[in-house]
């Protein structure tokens, strides 16, 4: 196994070739915030929270902003993960997420267990410097067991990926563009009408907010369960089926 050495926040870190910057930083116990990334699923760099400043790669000296989850570590790279510029970008990204949708924590199923709510604390967002949009969005309650509240969706696409890559059903996709962009089930049908859905609930388990939820859950009752997906992916990858 070949190894490459890079510097993250002035620390030398050696990782196997092919490791992403996010994995390299986490192996070195340097936390980089993420929302769309989830171990066990492919990385798509949708949320932009894991942006880092990279220099020394491809002969470029000026720092470039790259998403750590999809950037492969190379020999001699120099990475900064928490400069004032990056912290400002991260807070702005979280403010954009809050103001783009309708995230009313007080009445949410995920209140107290929400990755977006936690991220606001982590980036120091005590208010939004951007105006709230209050978009008119729908709630799909056509499925017998689950609901989808588009007001709370941050378009991380974890549901799309888990359904496609792990469950193999590909119920979810992303439809429309710009401010109309939203998660769609089937060919833009009500979720309950999509025959491909196996009712497995993996999408609900990995949703970082209260957008996907069990119908039985009320205020503050929804807990995410990404560890279930990770246990399954681990078992399949290593053919280890008994814990």
């Amino acid at each position: 196994m070949s190894v490459c050495t890079l510097r993250i926040n002035e620390r030398d870190v050696a990782v196997p070739t092919g490791t992403t910057l996010l994995e390299a930083a986490r192996q070195a116990s340097i936390p980089i915030p993420t929302l769309c990334f989830l171990e066990g699923l492919s990385a798509v760099a949708a949320c932009r929270l894991c942006l880092v400043e990279v220099s020394g790669a491809d002969g470029r000296e000026e720092p470039r902003l790259l998403a750590a989850c999809v950037t492969t570590a190379t020999e001699g790279m120099r990475v900064q993960t928490h400069t004032p510029r990056l912290q400002e970008i991260r807070r702005t990204v979280v403010e954009l997420l809050f103001t783009e949708g309708n995230h009313v924590c007080a009445i949410c199923v995920a209140n107290g267990h929400c990755e977006l709510q936690n991220m606001a604390v982590e980036v120091g967002m005590d208010h939004s410097r951007l105006p709230y949009r209050f978009p008119d969005r729908r709630v799909d309650l056509s499925h017998a067991q689950f609901g989808l509240d588009h007001n709370r969706c941050i378009l991380c696409t974890r549901c799309v990926r888990v359904c496609d890559e792990v469950e193999g059903a590909h119920v979810w996709d992303v439809g429309w563009r710009g401010e109309h962009c939203q998660i769609i089930s089937g060919l833009g049908e009500p979720w309950g009408a999509v025959e491909a859905c196996t009712h497995c609930g993996k999408c609900v388990d990995v949703c970082p907010t209260g957008a996907l939820f069990h119908k039985a859950d009320t205020n503050e009752e929804k807990h995410g369960h990404p560890e279930r997906l990770q246990a399954l992916v681990h078992a399949r990858t290593h053919q280890e089926w008994s814990p």
């Binding site: 309708n102 924590c105 005590d126 939004s128």
Partner: protein
């Protein structure tokens, strides 16, 4: 030492932030030694917002003409304005009417569509304040010095903000205990 002049203000909110303020329990007795409560729906009988207020906790979004008028008076007469709770900071639950796009659809929904047949739109100029087209967070209308999120902010969080403010310092709030929404 002269006592600080403290006010609390109730705009479009459920008063839960004020209930949380009352949850300060026995610390309220210490607060009474540190500050004069010069205006407050729960701590003063003063009807008009006074001049020269040092610190004001402002609960609620800005939903109608009364809210807006009072907020402007508060801003003009207050040194440190604290946006107090999620409704003041995000418009929160009162702001959910903004999704209906305008005050007229909101009034029609509430007073006509959901009425039992005898519904009528409320109209009493000079008595019932007119709704603004949108409920807005306080800081979208006037400058704000301190943000105290939470629905409601727990009593300890209010104390963590008030203690430095009454010493004349700005609180540095961070971490899950002090700046969490919801």
């Amino acid at each position: 030492m002269t006592k600080a002049r403290l006010a609390t203000v109730w705009l479009a909110g459920c008063s839960g932030c004020h209930m949380s303020f009352l949850d300060l329990d026995e610390w309220l007795l210490e607060l009474a030694d540190l500050a004069d409560i010069v205006y407050s729906p729960v701590g003063s009988d003063q009807k008009l917002y006074p001049e020269n207020v040092d610190v004001a906790l402002v609960e609620g979004g800005v939903a109608n003409t009364d809210n807006l008028e009072l907020l402007q008076r508060v801003r003009a007469s207050t040194r440190i304005l604290v946006s107090f709770g999620d409704c003041a900071i995000t418009a929160n639950i009162p702001g959910m009417r903004n999704m209906l796009r305008g005050s007229d659809p909101v009034l029609r929904r509430a007073y006509l569509e959901l009425a039992d047949g005898s519904g009528q739109l409320p109209k009493a100029p000079g008595i019932v304040p007119e709704l603004l087209e949108r409920v807005l967070p306080v800081h979208e209308l006037v400058p704000v010095e301190v943000y105290l999120p939470g629905c409601p902010p727990p009593a300890e969080r209010i104390r963590a903000a008030l203690e430095p403010l009454l010493r004349g310092e700005l609180p540095q709030l961070s971490g899950s205990d002090q700046i969490r929404f919801g």
